[in-house]
């Protein structure tokens, strides 16, 4: 895996400022995110924790351009995901950004049941605007690297949860993104399979990409460089630099 960090001028791959997201209207209105600021640097694995319904997944979706923020800006690799009023990207630009800069990993894998494992991985290579040949080569290499070659011809329902998530990881990396967004990546896996996936995410970050992971699990936060907690719509530092310079994980706190 070749890292392609394209940081903003101040070194962050991802930068969010003043993000606001409101659900509902009138008296039922809830401010899920309230002026959230966030920077993530290349090679960093950031874990975001919080109670159910605190807005973790919403934040991740805003960062990836899957949903529109009510206010605030998001930049990935120097390109607007959510810009100021005059810099708001079109749907076409957002699609290109997701194709080129961002990889998504979901809790429920979101593999298409009609396609076998390899076809799911290579799906982004078939999109208009993608460098299909290079992406396909990269996808096949990823299948080999992640140890999926033997099961590449099987369909999702024939795969274990861990295998499905590894295929999903490979799919997220096919476009050679600078940022990987993972929403509860081990929420649907047993401990052993979850460990494999977490090791892979750690490896992705160590390879130079920025990884933002929303999680509940302690074993996931243990591998993160930084852990932020979402409380009352705002991000607070939960723990930083869990890993020492020697790369070993220290006690959380």
């Amino acid at each position: 895996m070749t890292p392609h960090p394209r940081p903003t001028p101040d070194g962050a791959v991802l930068r969010a400022r003043g993000l606001v997201k409101v659900h509902g209207s009138g008296r039922g209105q809830r401010r899920i995110l309230d002026r959230v600021d966030l920077d993530v640097r290349p090679g960093e694995l950031l874990a975001i924790v919080g109670r159910s319904g605190s807005g973790k997944s919403t934040l991740l979706q805003l960062l990836g351009g899957l949903d529109r923020a009510d206010a605030g800006t998001v930049e990935v690799g120097g390109r607007w995901v959510a810009g100021p009023r005059d810099g708001r990207p079109s749907e076409r630009e957002l699609s290109a950004l997701r194709r080129e800069e961002i990889g998504f990993v979901f809790q429920f894998f979101h593999l298409l049941p009609e396609l076998d494992g390899e076809a799911n991985v290579l799906l982004p290579a078939t999109l208009p605007g993608a460098d299909g040949r290079a992406a396909a080569a990269r996808g096949r290499a990823l299948i080999d690297q992640l140890g999926l070659r033997d099961v590449a011809a099987l369909r999702p329902h024939q795969l274990s949860g861990g295998e499905q998530q590894r295929f999903a990881l490979a799919r997220a990396l096919v476009g050679d993104p600078s940022l990987v967004l993972a929403d509860e990546p081990i929420g649907n896996l047993d401990v052993a399979a979850g460990d494999v996936v977490l090791d892979l995410l750690r490896g992705i970050a160590d390879g130079g990409r920025a990884v933002v992971m929303v999680t509940h699990q302690a074993e996931a936060t243990a591998r993160a460089d930084r852990v932020l907690r979402l409380e009352g719509g705002a991000l607070v530092v939960d723990r930083t630099s869990a890993r020492g310079d020697d790369g070993q994980v220290r006690a959380t706190g």
């Binding site: 979706q61 990836g64 351009g65 899957l66 949903d67 529109r68 749907e91 076409r92 699609s95 290109a96 950004l97 997701r98 194709r99 080129e100 998504f104 979901f106 429920f108 979101h110 593999l111 298409l112 049941p113 009609e114 396609l115 076998d116 076809a119 799906l123 982004p124 078939t126 999109l127 208009p128 605007g129 993608a130 011809a153 369909r155 329902h157 024939q158 799919r171 476009g175």
Partner: protein, 761 residues
């Protein structure tokens, strides 16, 4: 019931967009139904309606002019006779008005009593002088109305007081003659005749007491008609057949199309209702989990279907009826027939409206009943109305986004089959329309359609055969004798007798359906139409009464699929007709060598003092009537195309809605509107390609034979679609696919990606 209605209403209000889409589908089907029913009902009943309103006589006898007392003596004691009207008709009268003029006018002088025509505007002629009633065809063609003046031969300028319709012939200008009516009493008074003076009589209209026993009246009339010269009888059924000669094939085809289109609309309504239940499976699962009984689930969905269908079907039916009204009235007008009244159409459409609501409610209830019987858990997990089959274990083929679209749409096999069936049926109807249009063109222009092998005719005497044969480029030539006759065994049944000296198949060879060809005098080949009408088959005896002193008898040796005159033809040698005293006239027909120089042949004929006439098809050169029919076909084709588009958009929207997760996953991976269009185009293509195959098979194996049979059992109509027409329909479907993909894709990209990610792919 209250629960069902309340829940159904809440469900519809909760998803206004979906409800609108469903309603659009039902309205589209209603549109097809409205058009088809209006056309089919109006055309199939036009003659009977006009005949009833006009009080059309049971039989009309025409003969050379006689004094009234002589005719009256022969008529008054006829059995089953309710009334008789003694009339005088003058042909070849010049009519002129509004800058138009016509030499072939017919003036009908009618006494008081039963009329035999309906007044559709103004009033009938009365005792006052200088009044005339004109036939509707003439009024429409020349833009005449009540109060206008018409110059009628030597009668001079007459004031038009009414417009009439009598379905005893096609209308002007489809018929070359136009009829006007004047009152006998007014004319007598004008010319200063004494009281009791009468016009001579050359036509008697007879009305029977019991229409079902009209044959008794006709038979007795024929027996008591001794002394009348050039007597021709025309019965009411004979009139219907005569009118049918002009447009019977086409009208019957359109009626048949209406029946087919009605079936199509039924398929559409049923498939649409099934799709609605498919969309609601998760809600059904939830209701069942909360304790709602399967019966209540069925009631909710039946009510839901009925609530959507009621306004949508009403709208579609009404618009369809309005759209089809003018073109069908034009056709009826050309045939001197009457359109049904507004209340009749409203009652018919009302009945169909109720049936449509019942069909939609029933089509919703059946799958809801099947779903309601399944375990709630399986419905909550997401499923099909029919249990899905396990995915295969074969390796998945590649195909990019379009290939993925194919797999997405084909995943729901039952619905996929339903959509293919709907689209295939609709496309097959379009193919049928195209084939029908080609047939009309061929009937008009191509003599080969009628089995004719000669290309030119010329008015030359028999003895010129050798001289014509000597013209370079002429392969064969012979006189073609053609005369109108009636069957002597079934009085009033008109037929055309065609006689060639020698082998007629050199010049005319309609396909042989049974028996063999004529080999000598006394033998006849009869058309299927005549065989059906008179119950003839090889071995039967055909007795014809030409305008001649004696009958001519022939042994039927073959039955042919002749299109001319609705197949009411007989091919014979001229000997027996000659012996019966018939006057044999007809042009010389010329069969040319392949690639012959027609101009050179025409020059050769001109040297002999004749003009070369190219051979035309069955319907002559009446472009206006064909234009009317073409307009009708266009309206029908447009509604069917709209139905195709709706079926495609519905299929794509439904697939996109059900596979929101997959679409959202793609968008998360960077798929933009272009990529989604490619995906959807693949899905549309997956429906269109098999639908085209279904359409071709359905048209060739079912619709074409069915329509040809319904339209004309007497002829083998070539209604199969050509390769070009199939390509045209295929291309049209692809364009509709692209349009459907564009419309659906545009809608998809407006939705936030995250909305789809909450669902499974």
């Amino acid at each position: 019931m209250t629960f069902a209605l309340r829940t159904a209403w809440a469900s519809l209000r909760g998803r206004p967009g979906r409800t609108l889409l469903t309603a659009t589908g039902i309205a589209a089907a209603g549109l097809v139904l409205g058009v088809a029913l209006t056309v089919a009902y109006a055309l199939s009943t036009g003659f009977d309606r006009a005949a009833q309103r006009a009080d059309l006589p049971t039989v009309v006898a025409r003969f050379d002019s006689e004094d009234l007392p002589d005719v009256s003596r022969a008529v008054r004691d006829l059995p089953n006779l309710a009334a008789a009207s003694y009339r005088f008709e003058q042909t070849q009268v010049r009519l002129a008005a509004h800058g138009h003029a016509l030499q072939d006018g017919v003036v009908q002088v009618v006494p008081e009593g039963r009329r035999g025509y309906a007044i559709v505007a103004g009033r009938d002629v009365g005792a006052r002088d200088r009044e005339v009633v004109v036939e509707r065809g003439l009024a429409r063609a020349w833009g005449l109305g009540v109060g206008d003046r018409l110059r009628v031969g030597r009668l001079g300028l007459l004031r038009i007081v009414g417009v009439s319709v009598a379905p005893d012939n096609v209308a002007f200008p489809l018929a070359r003659t136009a009829r006007v009516t004047v009152a006998q009493e007014a004319l007598l008074r004008r010319f200063g005749s004494r009281r009791g003076d009468r016009f001579p009589v050359n036509m008697v209209a007879l009305w029977a007491h019991d229409e079902s026993r009209s044959d008794v009246l006709v038979s007795a009339a024929r027996q008591s008609s001794f002394g009348l010269r050039q007597l021709r009888f025309l019965t009411r059924s004979g009139v219907e057949a005569l009118v049918g000669q002009a447009a019977g094939i086409v009208v019957a085809l359109l009626v048949a199309f209406g029946i087919v289109a009605t079936g199509l609309a039924g398929v559409l309504l049923g498939a649409g209702a099934q799709s609605e239940v498919q969309r609601a499976l998760d809600r059904i699962g939830l209701q069942r989990a909360l304790g709602v009984t399967p019966g209540a689930v069925v009631a909710v969905h039946a009510a839901r279907g009925a609530l959507v269908a009621a306004p949508a079907a009403a709208l579609g039916l009404a618009v369809g009826a309005v759209v089809a009204r003018n073109p069908s009235e034009s056709v009826l007008s050309s045939l001197n027939e009457l359109a049904p009244g507004g209340p009749t159409i409203a009652a018919l459409l009302g009945a169909v409206w109720l049936a449509a609501i019942g069909l939609v409610a029933g089509s919703s209830a059946v799958p809801a009943w099947r779903a309601g019987r399944r375990a709630p858990a399986s419905l909550l997990r997401g499923g099909d109305v029919a249990a899905p089959r396990a995915p295969g274990h074969r390796r998945v083929a590649r195909g990019g986004l379009a290939g993925l679209g194919v797999r997405l749409v084909a995943a729901r096999r039952v619905r996929f089959a339903a959509v293919v069936a709907v689209l295939g049926t609709a496309a097959s109807v379009v193919l049928l329309l195209l084939a029908l249009a080609s047939l009309l063109q061929a009937l008009r222009d191509d003599p080969a359609t009628l089995g004719k092998r000669y290309q030119l005719t010329a008015q030359l005497p028999d003895y010129a055969v050798d001289a014509v044969q000597a013209i370079p480029g002429v392969q064969a030539t012979a006189p073609r004798f053609s005369l109108d006759a009636v069957s002597a065994s079934s009085l009033g049944s008109p037929l055309k007798v065609i006689a060639y000296p020698g082998d007629h198949t050199r010049f005319e060879a309609p396909p042989l359906a049974a028996g063999r060809r004529v080999r000598g005098p006394g033998e006849a080949e009869v058309g299927l139409g005549l065989a059906d009408a008179l119950g003839l088959r090889p071995g039967s005896t055909l007795v014809v009464q030409p305008r001649a002193p004696r009958e001519a008898r022939f042994r039927v040796v073959g039955v042919v699929r002749a299109l001319q005159d609705e197949g009411r033809v007989a091919y014979v040698r001229p000997d027996r007709l000659d012996a019966a005293g018939a006057t044999l006239t007809g042009p010389m027909v010329l069969r040319l060598d392949r690639g012959a120089d027609r101009a050179r042949v025409a020059r050769g004929l001109r040297d002999l003092g004749a003009r070369a006439e190219p051979v035309r098809g069955a319907t002559g050169d009446d472009g206006a009537f064909l234009d009317v029919l073409a307009g009708l076909l266009r309206v029908v084709a447009l509604t069917v195309a709209l139905v195709c588009l709706h079926a495609l958009v519905s299929a794509l929207a439904l697939t996109a809605r059900e596979r929101r997760g997959a679409v959202a996953t793609l968008r998360a991976a960077g798929a933009d509107a272009r990529a989604l269009r490619r995906l959807l185009a693949g899905a549309a293509g997956a429906v269109v390609v098999p639908a085209l195959a279904v359409a071709v098979l359905l048209e060739a194996a079912v619709l074409a034979p069915l329509v040809a049979h319904l339209a004309a059992g007497y002829a083998d109509l070539p209604l199969g679609a050509s390769a070009g027409q199939i390509a045209l329909v295929g291309g049209g479907l692809l364009i509709l696919s692209w349009l459907a993909a564009w419309l659906t894709g545009r809608r998809l990209v407006r939705e936030p990606v995250v909305a789809g990610l909450r669902e499974e792919p």
